[in-house]
């Protein structure tokens, strides 16, 4: 599975201040930290504090600062298409656009960008009406995204469907719906679209967040999850992923599986 590091996000105070002061140091620090911890991608989000007209410049700055320091591709996280475009044009390698909803207007804006820059794209199974309350409605939106990918000629393996994880303390009954959505996404097309989640959402404002996060991640992996935006400082989470990779036969077992996984970065 792909581990996407969540930490370079303007929602965090140190990154917000780094962006406002154009200080690359905290961005470099978290790029290196997450790289060494085994990230495959780094999520980059300017966050809500940045003025809308400054967002493209900030996104490009984040991409350049990160890629000067670590050999990792980025997941460009913004609701602003201009920021996405600026990030894509600064980016080396295969980026992931994070994200479009299932609204046709957004799809028509962002899918062409994905194609132009040969990027992958995350499609949320939600639209202007909000997040569906059950698996069937999420899958209907997932199918909209799949059909669009087909029509635009976007390779199915470049479409990451996000079944939209909600905090378990406010939408407890939704957790099973999300898992069911994952199982069925895999049979929507051949080859299957991929599945991604923003993992830490599951435990927003909960206690024992790490326990909830890693338990849900493992349940997701068993249901077909391909990628997750995660907290790479959570060592227990990474250990659980290394065990899951073995148990799902994604990697050949050997006695040193844990230490090999940890040295991946």
């Amino acid at each position: 599975m792909l581990l996407i590091g969540e930490r370079i996000n303007g929602m965090f105070k140190d990154i917000r201040e780094a962006i406002l002061n154009q200080n690359p140091e905290p961005v470099r620090h978290w790029a290196n930290y997450q790289y060494k911890a085994g990230a495959d991608y780094l999520d980059l989000s300017p966050g809500p504090a940045v003025e809308i007209e400054a967002q493209p410049r900030i996104m490009a700055w984040l991409v350049e600062t990160v890629q000067k320091n670590v050999p990792l591709p980025c997941c460009l996280d913004s609701t602003n298409p201009a920021a996405i475009q600026a990030g894509l044009s600064a980016h080396q390698g295969k980026a992931i656009i994070n994200s479009t909803s299932a609204d046709q207007k957004k799809i028509d804006t962002l899918f062409p960008l994905a194609l132009k820059y040969r990027a992958a794209i995350i499609g949320l199974t939600m639209n202007e009406k909000g997040v569906p309350q059950n698996a069937a409605d999420r899958l209907a939106l997932a199918m909209e995204l799949v059909v669009n990918a087909d029509q635009y000629g976007l390779p199915m393996e470049d479409l990451y469907l996000d079944p939209v994880v909600l905090p378990c303390n406010v939408a407890q009954e939704q957790v099973k719906e999300v898992l069911e959505t994952m199982r069925q996404i895999k049979i929507l097309a051949t080859p299957s679209p991929r599945i991604v989640i923003g993992l830490s959402n599951i435990s927003q404002n909960c206690l024992n967040r790490n326990l909830l996060n890693r338990t849900f991640l493992i349940m997701g992996l068993a249901a077909g999850l391909d990628a997750a935006i995660v907290d790479l400082t959570d060592e227990n989470l990474l250990e659980a992923v290394s065990a899951a990779r073995i148990l799902l036969n994604q990697e050949i077992y050997c006695d040193s599986f844990l230490s090999v996984f940890k040295k991946r970065g």
Binding site: I252, Y253, C254, S256, V260
Partner: protein, 311 residues
Amino acid sequence: MPVKVIRENWPGKVNTITLGIGSQAIKIGGEGAFPFLAFEGKLPYRPVVACEVWDEEPGDWPDLLTAPFAGVIDEPAAWAKKCLVYGADLICLRLVGAHPGAKNKSPQECARMAQKVYAAINIPLIVVGCGEDEKDAAVLPAVAEALAGKNCLLGWATAENYRPITTACNNYGHSLIASSPLDISLAKQLNILITETGFNPGSIIIDPLVGALGYGLEYAYSIMERLRLSALTGDKMLAMPVICFVGQETWKTKEATISDFECPSWGEQARRAILWELLTAVALTQAGGAIMVLRHPETVRHFLAHLTSFI
């Protein structure tokens, strides 16, 4: 309507290893696809043949197998030269005489023998010990030193004796055969242990301990398929080329050793035995083997012809 060819795009590939030096060097590995599926990825180097040469006259080989080496079988350097004529890409010198249960030759004696054979040939050299872990751990470092800088391939390093052999290969610039008994997890673990000593994973060749046709060939085949699949999907600890000791396995089967007289219904022994060695080698090449260690020159000839017809 044209048929669309579905291709897998593999993120990983098998390591490329150079054996030998200068104009005599050969390359193996480097595959970016499954064997013979050249439309899916690069298969830059063909499988190669190593011919087996012993440091002692083999006592238990059938006449059929000793006949092509008549006059040279008690002289390893001359035997090796004869193999050049038979089309060998490499020579595999096997230090049978080092075994404590045989002549228990000293490491120095073995090292001199390896030098002598090296001097007689103009193709890369593989040297394997007697298969007794403790003795090989003493013999192979001496061989490594005697052949310093010649970029040979030495074996067998096992989970029991890899440390001194790895250190010697590292110090004197050789590649290493890591051998584990038909188990992919053990193969991976041994590669990890070897690389943890600081040895370059790009200089390891896996010996998965193959079986001959009718004697576990299918186990070896499926392990080698999984090795290749792991290499192609990016597992660096399984991205090593594979060596198959086909001759040693074939020429102990009853199908290869029983004479026409003992079992007339099985047909002519010469044809039967060579087919047995050939079919084992061909199958293991299909499974992704990079080096086939063979014994009979007729097998070598047919095997090379088979490769030519495919590549």
